[in-house]
């Protein structure tokens, strides 16, 4: 069994799987059971100033589903914790005392003034918690009150609040970023400049999951009205992965630890976040959907994978895919592939045909008796057929060996790397020296 122990900005946990700040971490009862189930750490549900906020009393979630009503995306309009500060702090202290080997980070959100942050930081420090996470991400409700993403969207505020926090506590400070921004590198840079020990991302994405077509209200609907919520779950993973990777590969941000969040559901998702630069991951929707037990699959899966790869520690995995993230202009234009259909696996549904036929390439032929074949002279290797085929592994992309002729272009495939910057069609071509 691989060594899954994790040391994230000095915070140790038996594995890199933390529960994100959200309902599963809102109280002692939950967090104790999460630890019993095997979670390496939690970020406690965001604390604020007393009196506690109130939540809506109607539905707070909306969702979208895939086949078999599998939950793909969740939207929420929940606010931060609605329980008194003292209650939460007492519980945090008790749980930390009983579970010293697990990470407990406390998420915080108070108004943008130094006194407020100073006051709450001192109280958190007394609990023995391992660190704090500044919630600059919540995109609904709290942002209307000048907090959450209202802070996260303004890099100057991010830097300012981070500086205050670094001044008033010795605990590691993690800054949680909102994805509701054009360039994620800007708030990340602000956090770094403010002295943050790490960033975590993503928080939820502004969203409306649906509209009720009878009463014409957005969902979830509260008495005939709806407000935008925050989107999370498997559907947001690609967005989150990209944002994590953008930070990981930006030279100015180099060395800034990242806690990866957004749609992590299985060990594989976690490993992907880590390969793109996340030191650990946080999970919310998957635990809300399936319960705490999913961490067992994450632990066994990552462990098997690391054993197979011979990774001694999670550090061997973290960031391994970052060097392979490239700008488009540096992709190799001499890498030529063609789609290949495995006729033994093909169930003759014709989806590849419909997709290719109606998507401008017309590179799949269909015979009278429903045999589907790739026409190499037309195939641009776009991968669409692979993506729409219902049988995994039935269509694959085969690389043409250098020296063979690409029937589509009539050109001999070159073995040398060549990209757009040097391509003759590029008006701004710079001579390759």
């Amino acid at each position: 069994m691989a060594d899954l122990t994790s040391n994230f900005v000095g915070i140790k946990s038996p594995n890199p799987f933390w529960l994100a700040s959200a309902p599963p971490t809102d109280k002692e009862y939950n967090v104790r059971r999460a630890f019993e189930a095997g979670w390496g750490g939690v970020v406690w549900k965001t604390l604020g100033e007393d009196p506690p906020i109130v939540n809506v009393n109607g539905p707070r979630y909306g969702a979208i589903w895939g086949a078999d009503r599998r939950l793909l995306g969740l939207n929420n309009i929940e606010l931060i914790t609605d329980r008194p500060l003292e209650t939460n702090l007492e519980e945090i202290a008790r749980v930390k005392r009983d579970w010293p080997d697990r990470a407990i980070v406390v998420s915080l959100m108070v108004p943008v003034n130094e006194e407020s942050w100073k006051a709450i930081l001192h109280r958190v420090a007394e609990t023995g918690a391992d660190g704090v996470e500044l919630n600059f991400g919540c995109p609904h409700g709290m942002s209307e009150r000048g907090m959450g993403s209202a802070v996260g969207q303004v890099p100057e505020y991010v830097q300012q609040v981070t500086e205050w926090c670094k001044t008033h506590t010795d605990m590691p400070v993690i800054v949680k970023l909102t994805p509701n921004i054009a360039d994620i590198r800007k708030p990340a840079q602000a956090a770094k400049d403010g002295g943050a020990n790490a960033v975590s991302l993503i928080n939820t994405i502004n969203s409306i999951t649906g509209v009720n077509l009878d009463n014409f209200a957005p969902e979830p609907t509260i008495d005939g009205k709806g407000a935008h919520g925050g989107y999370c779950g498997p559907a947001v993973k690609p967005i989150a992965l990209n944002m994590v990777a953008e930070i990981a590969r930006t030279p100015e941000l180099h060395g800034l630890p990242i806690s990866g969040i957004g749609g992590v559901t299985t060990w594989r998702d976690a490993a992907e976040f880590m390969a793109l630069g996340a030191g650990n991951v946080q999970v919310c929707t998957a635990a809300m959907t399936y319960g705490f037990k999913i961490v067992q699959e994450m632990i066994s899966g990552l462990s098997h994978y690391m054993d197979e790869k011979g990774f001694a520690s999670t550090a061997d995995l973290v960031g391994r895919a970052v060097p392979n993230l490239s700008d488009w202009q540096h992709l190799n234009l001499n890498y030529v592939t063609k789609a290949r259909i495995d006729q033994d696996l093909c169930i003759k549904c014709g989806r590849c045909y419909a997709a290719c036929e109606d998507t401008s390439h017309q590179a799949i032929s269909m015979s009278e008796d429903r045999v589907f074949e790739v026409i190499d002279a037309e195939c641009v290797a776009c991968n669409l057929c692979v993506n729409v085929c219902p049988v995994e592994g039935c269509i694959t992309m085969e690389k043409l060996a250098p020296g063979t002729v690409d029937e589509r272009t009539g050109q001999v495939v070159q073995k040398d790397y060549a990209n757009w910057t040097t391509h003759p069609n590029n008006p701004g071509k710079c001579a390759a020296e």
Binding site: D68, R69, K348, C349, G350, R351
Partner: protein, 440 residues
């Protein structure tokens, strides 16, 4: 004294009175909303889908399933009924395992096809529950068409003609319209009097006058119909039955399976319907299976189905054979009846084993039998019909017969498959052809 399973002879009430409803309940209960969504989710929306090709009425299956999946079962029903006006009955009786579901790519992928038939029922049930009829008649054409036979072929033909603006008179020898939907199909495939409800719903199109108790050859003649109407469609099915060709075939206890089934379908109270203790059914098609299964359901102790060739040659699908076996019917293959024994009433029936080419083997056996049902095929009945091709009415194109102005379709026409759905397809297509030639 209540009769029980062991009572010899042909008696009624072999079962507990409460047991009948259970035994004859829906073979495939309807899908509820949740089940329908789960089933619909499995459809891949195939390009030029093979299931469509496999459906004799060419229903756009991926489209109607997508309509169910998006919460519009009534739109799905219109897709179905636009192609097959008896889509509700077909959803219940089609041997989908040899039609659409056999062709479904998920049958190839996982051996588990999309539940096309049951989804079709889900959609059509929804629409009929509203009792709305989505089709309307075109402007009147002033043309009159006589349809003879109110089975699936005649009904489909009449509906399509009415839709095209023609006035239709639908004649049938029986007291009720519906053909074998009403008198033939197994009771557990069409519960709750669905056949009549469907006919009533179909007739909402208007423009169809139903004349029951009118038999061609007795109350009507083809010549007068041809003289009185602009066109005639014959959908008279197969009224006769084949005989075994044995001595003593008229002994008590020996009956035609179709008569037994018709009686069963019309029985108000199944506990009053007599059935033998030891029942033997001779034949290998759907009728034989239905007679055997329903005999068991009525409480017969031993039911044996005997077919003269090998199992793979039986007309009944594998699914039907397995259904019979699961109800406790014993299936004996490669055996031909040779003699009937008994004084007055049948007591035993003697068979000889035969090979697949029906060559005798000399080995015989006897089965005890107080009731024997013959199900060795139905035949066309009637004189003065258009020219025959073999034992059925010869047709070319969309059901054109040798007589000008006379079309035929369904079981009575040559070339069909003797299925409800093919009868519907032929009736519909003949109607379009009649329409084209009347208006052309």
């Amino acid at each position: 004294m209540t009769q029980n399973a062991l009572t010899p002879g042909i008696v009624a009430g072999r079962l507990d009175p409460d047991a009948y409803a259970d035994k004859f309940a829906d073979l495939h209960p309807p899908l509820d909303d949740h089940e329908a969504f789960v089933a619909a989710d499995r459809c891949y929306f195939c390009h030029d889908a093979p299931c469509i090709t496999a459906c004799p009425t060419e229903i756009d299956i991926p489209l109607f399933i997508r309509q169910i999946a998006t919460g519009t079962p009534e739109a799905a029903a219109e897709t179905i009924l636009g192609q097959n006006i008896l889509g509700g009955m077909c959803a219940r009786v089609c041997p989908t395992e040899t039609l659409c579901e056999q062709a479904c790519v998920r049958e190839a992928a996982e051996g588990k096809p999309v539940l096309i038939g049951r989804l079709q029922r889900y959609a059509t049930d929804r629409l009929m529950a509203r009792n709305s009829h989505p089709f309307t008649r075109a402007a009147p054409t002033g043309k009159r068409v006589a349809v003879v036979g109110a089975g699936p072929a005649g009904l489909a033909c009449a509906h399509r003609l009415a839709m095209r603006g023609h006035d239709v008179t639908l004649h049938d020898a029986h007291q009720k319209p519906g053909g074998l939907n009403e008198y033939g199909i197994a009771a557990y495939k069409t519960v709750d009097n669905f056949a009549q409800a469907e006919v009533d719903w179909l007739l909402q199109i208007g423009g169809i006058t139903v004349e029951t108790g009118k038999r061609l050859g007795r109350d009507l003649s083809l010549d007068t119909l041809r003289a009185g109407f602009d066109a005639v469609f014959l959908g008279i099915g197969l009224g006769g039955v084949n005989a075994l060709g044995l001595e003593d075939e008229d002994k008590d206890g020996i009956a035609d399976a179709v008569d037994f089934i018709a009686e069963l379908r019309q029985a108000g109270d199944l506990s009053k319907l007599p059935i033998g203790r030891d029942v033997v059914v001779i034949g290998g098609g759907m009728t034989a299976i239905d007679a055997a299964v329903q005999a068991r359901l009525l409480g017969a102790l031993n039911v044996t189905l005997v077919y003269r060739r090998g199992r793979e040659r039986m007309n009944a699908s594998r699914f039907e054979q397995d259904l019979a076996a699961s109800k406790g019917v014993r299936i004996i293959t490669n055996a031909t009846p040779r003699a009937i024994h008994g004084n007055g009433a049948v007591r035993e029936i003697e068979f000889e084993y035969t090979d697949d080419d029906l060559a005798p083997t000399g080995q015989t056996f006897r089965l005890p039998a107080d009731q024997v049902f013959k199900a060795i095929g139905q035949t066309l009945e009637g004189e003065e019909l258009p020219k025959l091709d073999g034992r059925k009415i010869a047709v070319t194109g969309a059901g054109r017969t040798s007589l000008k102005g006379v079309w035929a379709g369904g079981d009575c026409a040559a070339g069909g498959e003797d299925l409800t759905v093919t009868a519907v397809a032929q009736g519909r297509d003949a109607a379009e052809d009649i329409h084209a030639s009347l208006m052309g």
